[in-house]
C-alpha cells in the first residue's frame, strides 16, 4: 500500500471520527446496553416476577380480553419470552380506534402478570428507553433521529475503512499495548479496541445501516416500484381483514393453538398472537414466531381458524433478499443469541464504545503537547476537550440517573415513564454545563466518581428498600434481575478503577523518544506550569 494512500486516509479517519464522535459514543453505549433490554425492563418493574409458564399467561390474557373487549374488532397479545415476563394485551374496538400516538402508549394496553392476572407495575420504558435512544434519539420526530443516526453510522463506516487502511502495523501491533506513555498509550488502546473486535465493529455498523436502509437509500426500491407503498405491499404482505358474520362461536382454546404452532414450527415458540373478530364464527388467530427463535429477522406466521383451531396457512421468509436483509438485522439486534453469546455481543459493544471514547481522548492528547499556551487552548481544542468530558463521563452518569429515577419517582406520578427519561436528560444537561465550567481534571474525576458511586449504590438500594435485593433474586433464580444488579456493581467498580487511573494520570508528561538533536533540559521546566494548571 502506497505511503500516499495510507496518509490520505489518516486525516479522513480522524475527521470522520471526530465530527460525529459524541453521537457515536451515545449510539454504541446505548446500543450495547440494549442487548439486555428485556432484563433491564424486568429490573425496572420489580412488581412483576419471572414468568414460569407461558400457557398460564396466555390463558389469563384471553380471559382478560374476553372480559373487557368481547366485541372488539381484534385482539393482540404479546407473549413473554425466556427473558421478558408477562404478556401485553391491546385491542382495537369496533369503530374509530382511540389513537395513542407515538410514545403515548395505547390506552387499551394492559399488562398480564406471570400468574395470568392483570398486573399493575410502575409506568416505565425500562430497557426500551436505551434501545430506542440509540436509533430514534429523543425529543425529536423519529425520522430526524434516524437520519442523524444513519448519517453518523455512514461516517463510522468510513472511519472503520480508513482506519484499517491507515493502520500501518495492524498485524505487528496486534498484541501491543504500552501503558504509561501518554499519547502512545491512548493510540495503542484505541488500536487494540478497534482491531481485536474489528469483525464486530464492521458488522454492527453495516448491519445498522441495512436495518433502516430503505430510508437512507430508497433508490433501489424506487427504481423498481412506483412507490414505497407498493414496495411495502410486496415485502410485508397484509391479509385482507376478515368480515365478521355476527354469529357467535366459542373461540378455540389458545393453549391448543399454541401447541399446534409449536408443532408446525418444529419446536418453535410463539411471540405474538393476533385475533380478528374474536368470538365470531368467522374469526382468525394469527400466531407470529418469537424473534429469538431464529437468526433471520422475518415473519414466520401461522394462521388458524378462530373457532375450530385448524391451521389455515403458514408463511415464512422466502426471497433471498428478505433472508439476507433479515439475517443482517438479526445479527445486529442479537435477539437470537443465547446467554454466553449475548455477553460476547455486549462486551464487543462496550469495546466499540471505548474505541470511540479513546479516539476522542487521543485527539486531545495528541494536540495538547503542541499547544503553544496550554492555559489558553484554541477554540477547537477547548470545545472538544469539554465535550469529551460531558459525553464520555456525563452520559453514563445520566443513564444511571435514569435507573435511579425508576427507583425513586412516585409510582402514581402522571407521565411517570416520560419523567424517568427527563431525569436522564436533565442530568446530562447538568453534566455538560459542569464539563464547561469546572477545571478539566476536576470535571473528569467528579463525574466519573459520581457515576461509580451511583452505580454501586443501586443494588444496595434494591437490597435495603425493595424486596428484590440480590439475596432474594439469587435465591429465586431470577437471572435477569440478579444479573442486572451484579452487572451494575461490576460497572461501578470499573468506573471506580477509571477514577483511580485518572487521579494518578499526569497529562503532558509524554515520555517521547529524545530528539536526535540534543535539546536542553529546558522543556521540563516549561511543563510544570501546564501541570499546575491541569492539576487545579
Amino acid at each position: 500500500m502506497s505511503q500516499g494512500f495510507r496518509q490520505s486516509q489518516a486525516g479522513l479517519h480522524t475527521w470522520s471520527g471526530l465530527l460525529v464522535g459524541w453521537i457515536l459514543y451515545l449510539i454504541f453505549l446505548n446500543g450495547s446496553v440494549s442487548y439486555w433490554r428485556e432484563e433491564i425492563t424486568r429490573w425496572a418493574q420489580p412488581e412483576i416476577g419471572a414468568t414460569q409458564n407461558v400457557q398460564t399467561v396466555a390463558h389469563g390474557a384471553i380471559a382478560h380480553l374476553t372480559k373487557v373487549a368481547p366485541s372488539a374488532k381484534s385482539w393482540q397479545i404479546e407473549l413473554p419470552s425466556e427473558r421478558a415476563s408477562g404478556a401485553i394485551t391491546t385491542y382495537k374496538p369496533k369503530g374509530k380506534p382511540v389513537s395513542g400516538g407515538f410514545r403515548r402508549p395505547d390506552p387499551t394496553r394492559t399488562l398480564i402478570g406471570p400468574d395470568g392476572q392483570v398486573a399493575t407495575a410502575r409506568d416505565t420504558e425500562g430497557g426500551d428507553l436505551f434501545y430506542r435512544l440509540h436509533f430514534d434519539l429523543r425529543y425529536m420526530p423519529v425520522i430526524w433521529g434516524r437520519w442523524v443516526v444513519g448519517f453518523c453510522a455512514m461516517f463510522m463506516l468510513v472511519a472503520i475503512v480508513s482506519g484499517v487502511i491507515t493502520h500501518k502495523k495492524i498485524f505487528a501491533d496486534f498484541f501491543t499495548f504500552r501503558p504509561g506513555k501518554g499519547q502512545r498509550s491512548w493510540l495503542d488502546g484505541h488500536n487494540a479496541l478497534a482491531v481485536l473486535a474489528l469483525p464486530f465493529h464492521a458488522m454492527i455498523t453495516y448491519t445498522g445501516l441495512v436495518t433502516l436502509m430503505v430510508i437512507y437509500v430508497p433508490w433501489g426500491v424506487t427504481a423498481n416500484y412506483p412507490s414505497l407503498k407498493a414496495y411495502y405491499a410486496q415485502s410485508i404482505p397484509k391479509t385482507k381483514p376478515l368480515k365478521a358474520t355476527g354469529q357467535a362461536a366459542p373461540m378455540a382454546d389458545i393453549g391448543l393453538v399454541l401447541k399446534s404452532a409449536d408443532e408446525v414450527w418444529g419446536g418453535g415458540h410463539a411471540g405474538l398472537i393476533r385475533i380478528e373478530n374474536p368470538g365470531d364464527k368467522a374469526s382468525r388467530i394469527v400466531v407470529t414466531r418469537r424473534a429469538s427463535d431464529k437468526l433471520v429477522d422475518g415473519r414466520w406466521e401461522i394462521t388458524f381458524d378462530g373457532a375450530t383451531g385448524a391451521v389455515r396457512s403458514s408463511v415464512a421468509p422466502q426471497s433471498s433478499g428478505m433472508i439476507a436483509r433479515g439475517g443482517m438485522i438479526g445479527l445486529h439486534a442479537g435477539r437470537f443469541a443465547p446467554l454466553t453469546l449475548r455477553w460476547l455481543f455486549f462486551l464487543s459493544g462496550l469495546a466499540g464504545t471505548a474505541m470511540v471514547a479513546t479516539g476522542l481522548v487521543l485527539w486531545i492528547a495528541k494536540r495538547r503537547q503542541r499547544l503553544p499556551d496550554p492555559a489558553r487552548p484554541y477554540f477547537g481544542f477547548w470545545l472538544v476537550e469539554r465535550l469529551n468530558i460531558g459525553a464520555i463521563a456525563g452520559l453514563p452518569l445520566a443513564m444511571t440517573a435514569f435507573l435511579w429515577a425508576n427507583r425513586l419517582l412516585p409510582v402514581n406520578l402522571a407521565n411517570r415513564a416520560d419523567w424517568e427519561g427527563h431525569a436522564m436528560f436533565l442530568t446530562w444537561g447538568v453534566t455538560l454545563v459542569h464539563a464547561f465550567v469546572r477545571p478539566t481534571r476536576r470535571a473528569w474525576i467528579e463525574q466519573l466518581s459520581a457515576t461509580a458511586i451511583l452505580l454501586i449504590a443501586l443494588p444496595i438500594f434494591n437490597l435495603l428498600a425493595t424486596d428484590r435485593g440480590l439475596p432474594a433474586t439469587l435465591a429465586a433464580g431470577d437471572g435477569a434481575v440478579a444479573g442486572t444488579d451484579l452487572t451494575l456493581l461490576a460497572l461501578g467498580a470499573a468506573f471506580a478503577a477509571i477514577v483511580l487511573a485518572v487521579v494518578r494520570h499526569k497529562p503532558g508528561t509524554d515520555r517521547r523518544k529524545p530528539a536526535r538533536v540534543a535539546t536542553q533540559p529546558a522543556p521540563r521546566v516549561e511543563l510544570k506550569p501546564a501541570l499546575a494548571e491541569v492539576e487545579a
Partner: protein, 97 residues
C-alpha cells in the same frame, strides 16, 4: 464445549503471539528460531481451527461461527492484557495512562 473452544482460542492466540519476534523476545529473552516460529504459527492456526470446530459443535453452525468470532476477540484481548500486565520480577508496573 464452549469452555473448550474458549481455551483453544486462548492457547492459539498465545502461540501466535509467541511466534512474533518482539513478544518472544519479551517473554523468552531471545528471538525465535525460524523453525520455532513456524511451529508456533502452525500450532496457533490449528488451535484456532479446533476452537471453531468446538464452537460449532457446542452452539450449532450459525451460532457457532458467530460465537467463535466473538471468542477470537476475547482470546486476543486476554493474551494482550496478560502480556502487558504479566507479573515480573521487576517492580510492579504502575497503572499509569
Amino acid at each position: 464445549m464452549i469452555l473448550l473452544s474458549a481455551l483453544l482460542n486462548l492457547g492459539g492466540f498465545f502461540a501466535l503471539c509467541l511466534a512474533m519476534d518482539r513478544h518472544h523476545l519479551t517473554l523468552q529473552g531471545r528471538k525465535p528460531t525460524s523453525g520455532r516460529r513456524w511451529r508456533l504459527r502452525g500450532f496457533g492456526a490449528l488451535a484456532l481451527t479446533a476452537s471453531a470446530a468446538t464452537a460449532i459443535r457446542g452452539w450449532g453452525l450459525t451460532n457457532g461461527i458467530i460465537g467463535w468470532i466473538g471468542l477470537l476477540t476475547l482470546g486476543a484481548a486476554i493474551v494482550l492484557l496478560g502480556l502487558t500486565y504479566r507479573p515480573t520480577r521487576a517492580p510492579p508496573r504502575r497503572f499509569d495512562l
